[in-house]
Amino acid sequence: MRNSNEIIDDIANKEYEFGFTTDIEMDIAPAGLNEEIIRFISAKKEEPEWLLEWRLKGYQAFKKMQLPSWQHFPMPAIDFQAVSYYAAPKKKKQLASLDEVDPELLATFEKLGIPLNEQKALSGVAVDAVFDSVSVATTFKGKLKEMGVIFCSFGEAVREHPDLVKKYLGSVVPHSDNIFAALNAAVFSDGSFVYIPKGVRCPMELSTYFRINAQNTGQFERTLIIADDNSYVSYLEGCTAPMRDENQLHAAVVELVALDHAEIKYSTVQNWYPGDKDGKGGIYNFVTKRGICKGNSSKISWTQVETGSAITWKYPSVILQGDDAQGEFYSVAVVRNKQIADTGTKIYHLGRNTRSRIISKGISAGQGDNTYRGLVQVGPRAHNARNFTQCDSLLIGNRCGAHTFPYIESRNKSATVEHEATTSKIGEDQIFYLNQRGIDTEKAVALIVNGYAKEVLNQLPMEFAVEAQKLLSITLEGSVG
């Protein structure tokens, strides 16, 4: 019989399922970050002058900034000059419709479980597929358009809806917000754009699937979602990358704007390549996500299931500006092998009667290191603001780490801020109990972990909850004894 440590070491043998590469001819810009490359990207995308200027402002800000040092892990040296900032599959000719997407790309996404053919696609889910620096296809666009919903690549939005983009771009995450956001502003490639008009409940789940393929590139996408008065949208992003020995940088920015009585539900299933058992390779996931509940009674809810990346550094935030606005953050973050996650949320209560709820479930296995970092800030005007935070850590094995850094800053006496935290371990007793009922160790862990993460998984759109459950099970396969 295998003992715990042997079983824990088995994690090493667990392959990353999405690690294949697509062999396709690419347009790749030479490595290096400078004004020239920014002009090159902007020109490639045929962007208007104002956007180029905005990018250049981002670059100027970036140059003045340092890598952060407050996180709970040693920041790796990132050579920004060694990265290529633009990689796009070569177009064989101008493509007008989905039927003309390069079959190689269609096959790639199909292999990832994302069929881009509308007949084969999951009904009720519209997908924007982003391959390295460009969006290759967006499904169900026509159907959505009938209701006035705009769902397209960022590039297309700049061309077709410049006023909306101009109005909201950088309004939640400014070009100088932090070094990664500034980098993104300078070199952002593609991403998705969503606008839900007044009074419309978006009839489908919208989703973007990000795939990094090329070597020595990063992915710097930008997503902007605007929910106008009394509208609702549920949006999901997924992502994978090939297995490569060197680290690749992913520095995305997501901005959400919810106007009066609008609701945005944003879900992420993050499965970037995590690196191998020795911590070699993997994605550096440095992401800035922020939403603003601008309108009264608006609501933004972030749900994230983070299983991938060598390093995850992200704090999806909500600014509760409108009165009676609500913010939510539900997170499951899993680390194993030598993965690092420093993640959590920031909620800014500005308006009256604003409410927020934070449920964070960290799972650490192998030699993984998991940190929850959260800020709840209550401003002087935020009468009767309420926050509830539940922050749980689950340890598998005894070489992993879990840390919690909750920051609370309240400047209004009528506010209620509650914080609860627990740490537990999957015990050998629990595993043995389940073994004794005929359940093998892998399944036992899956059962326990999914039970532990249930509260968060339940928040995912139904179509994805099952996938996420499977992902959790696969990720932790062999990680317990």
Binding site: S4, F432, Q436, R437, G438, L447
Partner: protein, 251 residues
């Protein structure tokens, strides 16, 4: 059904089982009694395959298979069920989901298809009635916040659901009130049959008033020092275990 020969086992280098011989045939009910720390739970653990016990000598044959060669889950799937002395709590995992998983794993091992939700619920209802198990406990997390007695009754309910060939009950009667004891015992009696065997670990003769055993064994310091019938239990109740120290010396 179960043949244990000269079984020796240790924990952390400390000998706990020191040569156990025991034969349980199909349909038989055996009771094991013995003072605290004599090795009763250890025997159950070794049979179920708990990792921290090392078997140093002996063999165990279960229904034609070398039990000690099997993983804990395969022992369970072959039909060994252990009702734990201290059932663990597993937060977040509903009793129902857990049981469905367990049942279907065992079925898969036997080459049977998974039970449909409807059939599963039907079976659940039936067994709930059989052992008078509170349906409200079904949707709660496995044993989480259950009272001591509720946990024990859950063990018997699981036993009914999973339908093993051999049920090992480690002090299932401890912590039960009189009514619960009767209910649990009735449950076991209903589950008794020509194909099913039981090993009851208990401190109390009282349980054996309800479940009449075929044999009673006394485990003392890692060995079975005496075997008898139901009357032996009465004798133990009266005299305690001290008089058996002699017996141990002579073995």
């Amino acid at each position: 059904m179960l043949t244990i020969k000269n079984l020796h086992a240790e924990v952390d280098g400390k000998a706990i089982l020191k040569g156990i011989d025991l034969e349980i045939r199909k349909g038989e009910v055996h009771a094991i009694m013995g003072p605290n720390g004599s090795g009763k739970s250890s025997l159950a653990s070794v049979l179920a395959g708990r990792e921290n016990y090392t078997v140093t000598q002996g063999e165990v044959n279960f229904d034609g298979k070398e039990l000690l060669e099997l993983s804990p889950e395969d022992r369970a799937r072959e039909g060994v069920f252990l009702a734990f002395q201290y059932p663990v709590e597993i937060p977040g995992v509903s009793n129902l989901n857990f049981l469905k998983t367990a049942l279907n794993e065992i079925r898969a091992y036997k080459g049977l298809p998974a039970l449909e939700a409807k059939e599963f619920l039907k079976l659940t209802k039936e067994k709930q009635q059989l052992v008078d198990f509170n349906a409200n406990l079904m949707n709660r997390s496995l044993n989480e916040g259950f009272s001591g007695g509720e946990k024990k009754r859950n063990e018997i309910f699981q036993l009914a659901m999973l339908d093993p060939k051999l049920g090992i009950l480690d002090e299932t009667d401890s912590g039960l009130d009189i009514d619960a004891l009767r209910i649990v015992a009735n449950g076991v009696n209903k589950l008794r049959g020509p194909e099913k065997s039981f090993l009851l670990i208990t401190h109390y003769q009282r349980l054996l008033d309800y479940i009449i055993p075929d044999f009673v064994h006394v485990l003392y310091n890692g060995r079975i020092v005496k075997t008898g019938t139901k009357e032996l239990a009465l004798e133990l109740e009266e005299k305690g275990y001290d008089w058996l120290r002699e017996a141990e010396v002579h073995v």
